[in-house]
């Protein structure tokens, strides 16, 4: 039967060519769209995790309520002991205490007077401990543009564009003006060890990366940390496991009702990421439904035209005794075969383009220069196992629907009138 239908499709290309190309196009676009959204969201999750959210994050309850403002007066005290506890109880994660701070970088002239100032977004991480995962997490070795990574106390990194704007070279002194965790003004000198570029607009606009020990000293935050980030040691983000760890930690510390008690949140619970991911899923689902609908309408039309052309053929087949249901089913089977073949070709085409976009990516840096979310400038597609099958959904569904609707006319042909039709 399938061989019979295939022969018909191959020999009469007018009945298969338009539906085939429609399915190829729809499947290819579906695969590309899916891989692109998948890649963009993965970029957002991964860069957001590395710079801001971690896969899980521990903060004080009071800090968590105002986390967007990084309120260091509400930071976790006794961070060293807490990191030890986390490392013992949650060994699947690497734990990284951090302090996020803001302020001004003030550059003195030869008389010590302010020559130039600029607002800075600071990130204090453990740069100098040999066991610290931060160099790898922030990809610091590759991010260095000029100079080197900090090796001595009091050395910092500045984002390259920011340093250039301030006229700073490695070795120069930069004064941080900020506030201690108690709110006092801090004026502290640092030496610029090097400049970095992360390819993340938010970080490259005006960032300072400092060792957490130096910032603890400057901001009067002895053994404190604004946040402790946890990263899966051997895998990318796994939502279920992150949420399980957060629930277990919060249960353990639930007995402490104080506002400075630690609280763990998963990546999904931070910065509205859950809503963003849900929104992306909804957008993609809507896109898929639109593809299926548009393709179904095109294929329905193609089916109607084909039915007109094959009016005589259907009449003869009915006259020879083939019943309506069998004829209708064979039409649908034809459609599914076209859909399957078109999906195979479309998926292959879509995967090719997606792999190219995964390798090359699109540089959206100019569009993201004022962005407030942490996302890499170069967005890439991401091909996953789902990318190999997602194109078959619209390919098969649309051909099935198109044939099912256009083929209904078969049931309107009355066997008793076939002879008259043939005479005409």
């Amino acid at each position: 039967m399938i061989r019979f239908l295939l022969k018909g499709l191959l020999r009469d290309r007018s009945r298969s060519l338009l539906p085939f190309f429609t399915v190829v196009l729809g499947s290819a676009l579906t695969v590309i769209g899916f891989s692109w959204i998948n890649g963009a969201m993965s970029s957002m999750i991964e860069s957001g995790a590395r710079f801001s959210t971690g896969h899980v994050k521990v903060m004080s309850r009071a800090y968590a309520k105002e986390a967007d403002q990084a309120p260091n007066d509400l930071a976790l005290a006794g961070a060293g002991g807490l990191v030890d506890e986390l490392a013992r109880d949650y060994p699947a994660f690497d734990w990284a205490p951090r302090i996020v701070f803001g302020g001004l970088i003030d550059i003195p002239d030869e008389r010590g007077e302010t020559r130039v100032q600029g607002p800075v977004a600071g990130l204090a991480v453990d740069l100098r401990s040999p066991s610290s995962p931060e160099r790898g997490l922030l990809n610091l070795d590759k991010a260095v543009v000029r100079g080197r990574l900090p090796e001595q106390p009091g050395e910092v990194l500045l984002s390259d564009g920011f340093a250039t704007r301030l006229g700073l070279d490695p070795g120069a002194t930069a004064t941080l003006i900020s506030a201690t965790m108690h709110g006092s003004l801090v004026v502290q000198n640092f030496v610029v060890a090097g400049t970095v570029r992360f390819g993340v607009a938010v970080m490259d606009r005006g960032a300072m990366i400092a060792d957490i020990a130096d910032i603890r000293g400057a901001l009067d935050m002895d053994d404190s940390a604004g946040e402790i980030l946890g990263f899966f040691r051997d895998s990318p983000y796994i939502r279920d496991e992150a949420e399980r760890a957060a629930a277990a930690f919060n249960l353990t510390h639930g007995g402490d009702a104080g506002e400075f008690a630690p609280q763990m949140v998963s990546l999904h619970e931070q910065s509205g990421l859950a809503q963003m991911l849900d929104w992306a899923t909804q957008v993609y689902s809507l896109m898929l439904v639109c593809f299926i609908l548009v393709m179904s309408i095109v294929l329905w039309n193609a089916g109607l035209m084909s039915s007109l052309r094959r009016y005589g053929e259907f009449g003869i087949r009915l006259a020879l005794g083939e019943d309506h249901g069998r004829l209708y089913r064979s039409l649908i089977a034809e459609g599914v075969i076209v859909g399957f073949l078109g999906s195979v070709v479309g998926t292959a085409l879509g995967l090719g383009v997606s792999y190219y976009l995964q390798y090359k990516g699109f540089n959206l840096g100019s569009m993201l220069k004022n962005a407030s979310i942490i996302v890499t400038d170069v967005l890439r597609a991401r091909v996953t196992a789902e990318s190999y099958v997602i194109g078959f959904v619209p390919g098969l569904a649309a051909t099935f629907l198109g044939k099912a609707v256009s083929g209904i006319g078969i049931y309107k042909r009355q066997t008793s009138r076939l002879a008259k039709e043939f005479e005409a």
Binding site: A62, D73, L74, L104, D106, P108, G112, E113, T114, T175, I177, A179, T180, H182, G183, S184, L185, V186, V187, Q188, N189, D220, E259, F260
Partner: protein, 252 residues
């Protein structure tokens, strides 16, 4: 530009109003006159103050002590004495400019722009509050809004509204001790009408010819915490202050 009334006129007005208030308590005085008396009570050619700020935040309290040399309303020099972390930090105010010096960095920084709204040493006072150097009567129009008691002290309630220009608080409501011309309570509002800060005077002492608030609670309503208690430990009026103190060179 703010115009100051000629001094003889001011003196005549103060003397006249002082007599009038004593004689006719039933008749509410002019708001501007009450405000002028408040300014006169606190004004001095120069004063040297030793004070403590007890800052009560969400994580506990800490005390910062300092000594200030103040000349007129436009020049002041403050040196922080304690805690050790703040010791040696100095601030110099000359007219509308404020510099701070920190010994750890050996840098003198001009506090300007949005930094003026930052808290001083984590207290409920901002640098902008410290910069306020003009007499209230020059900045605000005042009307008597009523009479109330603060504790056991009968007070005039004055509603102050800005005369224009750049000013930290668009309107204020102050409770002025009728007999001592001291502000015992104050509410400061933004242009939108939002309450920003409150002050409550807990203790007033007689020093020389003046009544001086010696314990005041400042509260930044937008901050959590229980406010900042400002305690005057010693105050010397019309003290001799060398001119060189009010130069940037004295910061180092």
């Amino acid at each position: 530009m703010i115009r100051h009334a000629p001094l003889p006129f001011l003196l005549a007005a103060v003397v006249g109003l002082a007599g009038a208030v004593g004689a006719a308590t039933a008749q509410p005085p002019d708001g501007a006159a009450v405000l002028r008396r408040v300014d006169e009570n606190m004004g001095a050619d120069s004063k040297v103050t030793t004070s403590e700020m007890i800052i009560r935040g969400r994580r506990g309290s800490r005390t910062v002590s300092s000594r200030s040399w103040i000349q007129g309303r436009s020049r002041s020099f403050t040196e922080y004495l304690d805690p050790p972390r703040e010791k040696g930090t100095k601030m110099l105010k000359l007219d509308d400019q404020l510099w701070t010096y920190t010994p750890a960095s050996d840098r003198t920084i001009l506090i300007s722009g949005h930094m003026l709204r930052q808290s001083v040493m984590g207290s409920d006072l901002s640098y902008e509050d410290m910069m306020e150097d003009q007499r209230l009567v020059a900045l605000y129009d005042a009307v008597i809004a009523g009479e109330e008691r603060v504790g056991d002290r009968p007070c005039w309630v004055l509603a102050l509204s800005s005369r224009g220009g750049e000013i930290a608080y668009h309107t204020r409501k102050i409770w002025v001790d009728k007999a001592r011309d001291v502000v015992l309570r104050e509410e400061r509002f933004a242009k939108s009408g939002k309450l920003l800060k409150t002050t409550e005077v807990l203790d007033v002492q007689r020093m020389k010819e003046r009544w001086v608030p010696t314990r005041v609670i400042f509260k930044d309503v937008l901050k959590n915490g229980e406010g900042t208690e400002f305690v005057v430990k010693a105050m010397e009026f019309n003290a001799e202050i060398p001119d060189h103190l009010f130069t940037k060179a004295s910061l180092r």
